[in-house]
Structures are given as structure tokens and as C-alpha cells.
Symmetry: C2
Subunit: 103 residues, 2 copies
DNA sequence: TTTAATAGTTCGGGAATATTGAACCTTTGG
DNA sequence: CCAAAGGTTCAATATTCCCGAACTATTAAA
């Protein structure tokens, strides 16, 4: 019954977006999603040491920040970056953040 | 005896910088500093409703993120943005954030 | 030279957030 | 139908944040 709610980008405040990106784990997840189009939750994980519930919570935050969209496919939750929408809302922001991400 | 410690920009992680910017009050303060060169703490405040101790704490965070430099002059603490240093460390980041700041 | 005011910092405790183990829900394979 | 896979939700713990009260340092006034 897991249905997700996605905000309209115009309703996402800058602070929320920045806060979502201001975490090493979430940023890594965003980077993976930026490189991969669509990923299951477990594949979007920044590492395997992170608990499932924490991962789920991070994804929820990224959704609330308008960064990702999640849809259920079978028993998997497929995540994808809302890149063009996010870029329209905050021009240049995601590029700048990703470009400055540590190697 | 208030002497402040400023990090080398190379020691500032991206997450810390983003976290510092991911707060409406602090972002407003950064914007004011970006427009004014040098400001006393009370003049850098985002509004007058904010308690002194909270303000002081915000400034401490901005310092730790390498965003501002504080020096004591008489009984005032003068703050200025470390713009060029920050820009060298995180190219395009501050510009992108400031450009997307709400009106 | 006291005294008082200005400009902030620091400390401590309550409020708000984050993390995560355990229990749970759904879908699919056998 | 039963068990496993893939996640979510809940609740308890841990962490972080906010702000009043007390404090420090510098300057102005008396």
C-alpha cells in the first residue's frame, strides 16, 4: 500500500532543498541517482552499512525536497531524480553541488 | 578576550558548508554580508526578533563553515564574508545559492 | 576612577530532529 | 499457501538546536 506523495517543486523552499543535500549519505545517493536514471532503494544506498530504516528515511527527505520521485514496481520502489524540475526551480544549484562533491 | 578561530577552506567539507547555508536565518545573514562588506553582529542579524545567543551561535556556525571571518574592533565584532576563498574552495556554489534565495 | 551601558560569548536545560532495531505490509517465487 | 524479498512505520534512544541567564570585555559618563 506504499504510495508516495511528491511536492510540487514550486512549494519546495530553498532551505529544505539545501538541507536535503547537506548530508554526506544523501548527497551520495543523489549522485548515484544522477548517474543512473532509475534505482531501487537498496541500489541507491550510499553504502551497505546503512540500516534499512535510515535509508528509507533519507529517501523520504529527498522526496520532500523535490529531488526524487518514487514509484512502486512490483515489490520494489524505483527512485529517479526529478532533475529537470529541480533545475527549473533552482537553476544551477544541483550542478554546483554535484560539481563540488568530494571524490 | 573573544578571539575566533577560522578554518582553512580546504578543511571545510561540503556538507558543513551546505548545512550552514541550509537555514533561512543564516542564509539571510550571508546575503547581507554579501551586500555590505563588513557588518557588526547585530547588523548582520536577519531580523530583530532573534535572541543574541542564537545569533552568536549562527555566526559561529558560519565561521566554522569558512563563510565568514570575524575580528574584534573595540567592543564590536566585525564580520565579513570570505567570498573569494569560499568561491575558490566551492566554485559556483555560493552564487547558485544566493541567486536562488527567496525575495 | 568608579559606574553604567554596549556588544557579544558561553553555559545549561528543554525542545526539536535524527538514527535505528523491531514489527509490519506487499508482492512474488516455489 | 508459505516463505522470502524489498521496504515502510513505529517507538525509543541519541543527537542537535534554541534561547534565557549569567558572564566578559570595552568604552562612555560622572
Amino acid at each position: 500500500m506504499a504510495r508516495f506523495t511528491h511536492p510540487r517543486l514550486e512549494d519546495v523552499p530553498l532551505d529544505l532543498a539545501l538541507h536535503a543535500l547537506a548530508d554526506p549519505n544523501r548527497l551520495e545517493m543523489v549522485a548515484r541517482l544522477a548517474a543512473a536514471e532509475r534505482l531501487r532503494c537498496s541500489d541507491a544506498a550510499p553504502c551497505d552499512a546503512i540500516p534499512k530504516s535510515t535509508l528509507s528515511n533519507h529517501l523520504k527527505l529527498l522526496r520532500a525536497a523535490g529531488l526524487i520521485e518514487t514509484t512502486q514496481v512490483g515489490r520494489e520502489m524505483i527512485n529517479m531524480l526529478r532533475r529537470s524540475e529541480f533545475d527549473s526551480r533552482f537553476p544551477g544549484l544541483l550542478d554546483a553541488v554535484l560539481a563540488n562533491r568530494p571524490a
